[in-house]
């Protein structure tokens, strides 16, 4: 950490989407963020702005967040046209202000998709992602004694593959980035994770069909293989899982 940076403070112009509730008409408002250092995270920068707003008797900018360490998937902001701000494999809570320069203008918008209705300002309702998981993103198991850890052998490549898919934190940036608002990367991550494991195989064909049905019924679009999702995904989920989903769906036609 070089000492001269410690004194540097930035002033930024924020153009933020404000919307009272799901049905209200939203609009952009402009704010000035003062006293921001390069060590602030993006959300901390908003905290600073919100403190000023609250002191001034104004409504703070509402946004979703929880862990602020890139693991929960709650934060959800489109920063200058890219969900999570466009830094590779980074959630917006882990984006730091050193990525910006003094005097920058920053557009902040909520996820936009028919399946993600706006709750307020930058907060959207992502129940649709839960609906997709509830449709089949699980393995059914009978309760009973504790299973023997080594009873089911899983090869290292299969375990790695499943773990890579399981990295999805369910943030919805894939659908927010997709020009068709398809949540296919999200759906495929769960389908692929479970289809790779012996515990998930018995229900694989029912699962992929039900999850795809739910995906459509929630109002997401269809995948056009643009791969914008992978570029925006903070966990770097690979589109090979979408190919796997397509394969699983085709297999399911004969099951």
């Amino acid at each position: 950490m070089s000492s001269h940076n410690e004194h540097k403070s930035m002033t930024l112009t924020l153009i933020v989407w404000r919307q009272k509730n799901a049905t209200a008409q939203g609009k952009f408002d402009t704010y000035t963020a003062k006293g921001i250092t390069e060590h602030h995270s993006f959300l901390e920068m908003l905290d600073v702005v919100n403190e000023d707003l609250i002191k001034g008797g104004k409504e703070p900018i509402m946004f979703d967040h929880d862990c602020r360490e890139g693991i929960c998937g709650m934060c959800s902001q489109v920063v200058n046209g890219v969900p999570h701000g466009g830094q590779e494999r980074t959630t917006v809570c882990q984006l730091h202000m050193r990525k910006f320069k003094d005097g920058d203008t920053i557009y902040i918008e909520p996820w936009r998709a028919r399946a993600f209705p706006i709750v307020r300002d930058l907060i959207v309702d992502r129940t649709a992602l839960d609906t997709i998981i509830q449709a089949g993103g699980f393995t059914s198991c009978h309760t009973g004694g504790i299973p023997d850890g080594n009873a089911i052998l899983i090869s290292k490549p299969d375990a790695d593959y499943a773990m890579d898919a399981a990295e999805c934190i369910g943030c919805g940036a894939c659908a927010a980035a997709c020009p068709n608002s398809a949540a296919m990367l999200f759906t495929s991550a769960k389908v692929a994770q479970l289809a790779a494991l012996p515990q998930g195989k018995p229900e694989a064909s029912v699962r992929v069909k039900k999850m795809l049905d739910a995906h459509k019924e929630c109002g997401f679009g269809n995948c056009s293989n643009h791969y914008e999702c992978q570029a925006a995904c903070p966990k770097g989920i690979n589109v090979k899982f979408i190919a796997k989903l397509n394969r699983e769906y085709l297999k399911a036609q004969f099951a």
């Binding site: 918008e109 936009r112 020009p179 068709n180 398809a182 269809n222 293989n225 914008e228 190919a243 085709l250």
Partner: protein, 217 residues
Amino acid sequence: MNFLKSSVGRKVLMAITGQLMVLFVVVHLLGNSTIFIGLINSYAEHLHSLGPFVWVFRLALLAMVLTHAYYGIQVTLENRAATPQKYAVNRQLKVSLAGSSMIWTGLTLACFIIYHLCHFTARLTSDVAGFAGQVPGDVYRMLVTSFSHGLTVFVYVAAMAALCLHLFHGIQSFFQTMGWNSECSLPLFSKLGKAVAVIVLLGYGSIPVAILAGILS
């Protein structure tokens, strides 16, 4: 949900019909290229000697175009409906011009296919009226007559540019939709698709251009 309603099911149908049309496009190009070695007339006669099979092929192609276009339009309309509100700022990291213009290049191809059939198959346009009714007749002469008009050459080259763009995105998309991609094959298929797309443009484009330039006469 039935295969023909599901998101992936319809895409698979589009991918298969699209890829079969790509195969046709490549074979058709090989056939047309016989013009450069002076064999296009005998190639045309060979094709027509297949008799009823010509019609089987034509109907199969028609079914493919119609299926592909029907689902292409349907899926695109759904995708638009799924994104009712656009971003004020939209910086796309991966979406390409070819990818985002699929519906427009596709519809251009639909118009071109109708024109092309009226032109060289049915010979309804005035420039080839003299060749109407001959099956297949002097195809070489017909092409030379027709492509001596700059506007006709422009229309054909423009249509092939649309096809090139469509396939630039479409061929790699086919492999992904069929589920045949892995992390390492995707960039390879993507390059392959782009190469085929450019070959199609250069190959088809070279014929009218060569005629207009007087290389074939």
